[in-house]
């Protein structure tokens, strides 16, 4: 059973009637994901590519028992949609929106924690267990079923790596995008811990970037608990201090937030450091996993 999602996952798509939500819902459904329902306030009764749409999460839950919510709701309405999903006890909510105000994220994350609900994101591409469930926006062509678990802050960086892996015949167990921050639900450390316990995953890849201390926390976890091989790739060596490199969380404000410092900590913790995606592939090939 893969982590977080699997072939039994019943997905709810919030914001399903929007341009992006409906487009991505179709791709996910075609991929084989069981999307049981969608929600858009005011659009109840409609269908999107055969998926029934409800006004409220509670109505969708009553009719279809979804267990994971993927939200395409724009930042300004994201908090309310998330609170609604949490109140209805979906076990995982995925927030694709970037630009959710910090104070809204604080409310979402605290409420989720006290309700026992996991949050992925914000600013996340979602996650996918190839061949089982796609609850995300990853391009299909880069996906292949296999044993490599990937956790990444950046969506597109994980696509880059998956593309090379798949082209080299190396499949993935689950690809988890934790999002661009600056506040996070699930962290790199949380996902590494799940991969460590996951029988479907033989090797893990950590894709990190400049800014924040999360990679150091991941390194501390790897040093203490990781038995499976971890390969890490950190990007942003050239990022100037104080510059926002796209993601809200990708800004170097202290010495330990640089790529060099993170790489050093991960190396000391026992992770293999790849300088580029091609080195990830050759490392996996040499490990023979």
């Amino acid at each position: 059973m893969t982590i977080l999602v699997n072939e039994r996952t019943r997905l709810l798509v919030q914001g399903i009637t929007g341009k992006v939500g409906s487009f991505q819902a179709k791709i996910m459904k075609d991929y084989g994901t069981t999307i049981v329902a969608g929600v858009t306030p005011g659009k109840g009764g409609a269908t999107v590519y055969g998926i029934p749409v409800y006004d409220y999460v509670e109505e969708a839950v009553e009719a279809h028992r979804p267990d994971v919510a993927l939200s395409f709701v724009p930042a300004r309405f994201a908090k309310d949609a998330a609170i609604e999903a949490i109140e209805n006890q979906l076990k995982l909510i995925i927030l694709t929106a970037a630009g959710i105000p910090d104070q809204d994220m604080v409310a979402i994350l605290n409420f989720a924690a006290s309700s026992g609900v996991q949050v992925l994101g914000p600013d996340t591409p979602g996650l996918v267990s190839p061949g089982k469930c796609k609850a995300g926006v990853h391009p299909n062509r880069v996906l292949k079923e296999g044993k490599v678990g990937i956790v990444s802050k950046s969506g597109a960086l994980s696509y880059e790596v998956c593309k090379l892996l798949t082209e080299s015949g190396i499949g993935q167990s689950t690809i988890v995008g934790i999002g661009g921050g600056p506040l996070w639900g699930l962290t790199q450390r949380d996902v590494l811990a799940m991969f460590e316990e996951d029988s479907e995953t033989g090797i893990t890849i950590l894709l990190g970037e400049v800014g924040g201390m999360m990679e150091h926390e991941a390194a501390a976890f790897i040093e203490k608990y990781a038995r499976k091989p971890v390969i890490a790739l950190i990007v942003g060596y050239d990022a100037p201090r104080g510059a926002q490199m796209g993601h809200a969380g990708a800004i170097i404000e202290g010495d330990r937030e640089t790529a060099e410092s993170k790489v050093k900590a991960l190396k000391q913790a026992g992770a293999f450091i790849a300088d580029n995606p091609a080195e990830i592939v050759s490392r996996i090939e040499s490990l023979g996993v």
């Binding site: 105000p101 995300g136 950046s154 490199m245």
Partner: protein, 378 residues
């Protein structure tokens, strides 16, 4: 304490919740300035008044006088009636029920609502409880009162506890109300007359602009002429167009459709012996317009000798960004070599659109980087 109906309704009215026009009657001398029909309601702190005969509709002054006298002489469920509320009679289409209460089983506030409101609500609750919707409400504890007192003690400012408590809650109010990510007073000084903020620093969350709009705009407008810094043309343009752009020192221009893949491209450019001219990414939902604007911004930097556009679409649709590239090329003459790597969502359509204007896309990022680096060197 249970409020009498007229007190509770006064509270509602003060909050702007509509209630019928009314007048409190203590004796028959108060029976003037009323337009009939009116409803006379005994003000006693018990429920079920309608069924106990303590609510009567009257149609003229004479009937009102006799009914009022009778009500003031009765006792409703052991409560002698001392006051009667006279209310205008309202045309009713539907009676609903709505309440908040503390649910002692769940230790949480609960909202109850029903489409079967009115006199029989107790019966509805007993016979068909499913007709009453019950929902819990979650509250956060917020700022506890002990905290500023505790801090005042720890800071050695105990003699000023009262002032500190007040300042503390006001500062927190600003923090929340303005969507701040930092409010800082340093130093907060103790003077012979009390506390005072000698310096202040505040960071406001740009992501909250959608709800802070005017306030944030006013701050910006006010400080604009005061913080004018010399910015490169491309950065100024990027700000104007809302494009993520960081100017660097090299010659290889770079546009990506993701932050991580963009930083990877920068690292690869360096590893390949080149120097990036900038970092620029389209961000979530970057489409046609964003792509066109990004090209305008990056090419405004005169150091750019080649432009690498690296696209691996998930949310970003290759057909939309291809449209942006084509639109830019149609309106502008591009004097530097253009290298496009394109794959991902809707890539077939995107590639086709670019082929139509003579652009062959690459599929592999390292190859695209090598090409761009060597073109930049001429």
């Amino acid at each position: 304490m249970r409020l009498l109906e007229f007190q509770a309704k006064r509270l509602l009215r003060e909050q702007g919740i509509p209630v019928p026009n009314s007048k409190l009657l203590i004796s028959s001398e108060d029976l003037h300035d009323l337009s009939y029909p009116i409803v006379l309601k005994a003000q006693v702190p018990v429920g079920g008044r309608g069924k106990a005969g303590a609510i009567k509709t009257v149609f003229d002054a004479q009937e009102a006088a006799s009914t009022l006298r009778a009500l003031l002489n009765t006792t409703v469920k052991d409560h002698p009636v001392k006051a009667v509320l006279a209310e205008e009679k309202v045309a009713i289409e539907k009676e609903l029920y709505l309440s908040f209460l503390i649910d002692k089983h769940a230790n949480r506030p609960m909202v109850m609502a029903s489409a079967a409101g009115g006199m029989d609500i107790e019966e509805v609750a007993q016979r068909s409880p499913q007709r009453i919707i019950k929902k819990h409400v979650t509250l956060c504890p917020g700022l506890p009162n002990y905290l500023p007192r505790f801090l005042a003690k720890r800071l050695g400012a105990e003699p000023h506890t009262k002032a500190f408590v007040e300042l503390f809650s006001k500062l927190f109010y600003i923090f929340q109300d303005y969507d701040a990510t930092l409010v800082e007073i340093n130093p907060l000084v103790v003077t012979p007359t009390g506390l005072m903020a000698l310096d202040a620093k505040m960071l406001l969350d740009d992501k909250a602009r959608f709800r802070q709009g005017e306030r944030f705009d006013e701050f910006l407008k006010e400080q604009a002429p005061l913080v004018a810094e010399a910015k490169p043309e491309a950065e100024r343009l990027a700000e104007e167009k809302g494009i993520t752009y960081v100017q660097l020192d090299g010659t290889v221009g770079m546009i990506s459709d993701g932050a991580g893949t963009g930083m990877l491209a920068l690292d690869l450019i360096k590893a390949t012996g080149g120097e990036a001219a900038n970092f620029c990414e389209l961000g979530v939902f970057g489409g046609t317009e964003t792509m066109r604007d990004a090209m305008e911004v990056v090419l405004a930097n005169s150091q750019t000798k080649a432009l690498l556009i690296s696209l691996i679409g998930g949310l970003t649709r290759m057909d939309e960004v291809a449209e942006g590239i084509v639109a830019y090329l149609q309106q502008n003459e591009v004097c530097v070599p253009l290298v496009v790597r394109m794959c991902g969502t809707e890539e077939e359509r995107g590639k086709e659109m670019l082929r139509a204007v003579g652009i062959q896309t690459l599929d592999d990022l390292p190859t695209a980087v090598r090409t761009a680096v060597s073109r930049a060197k001429g």
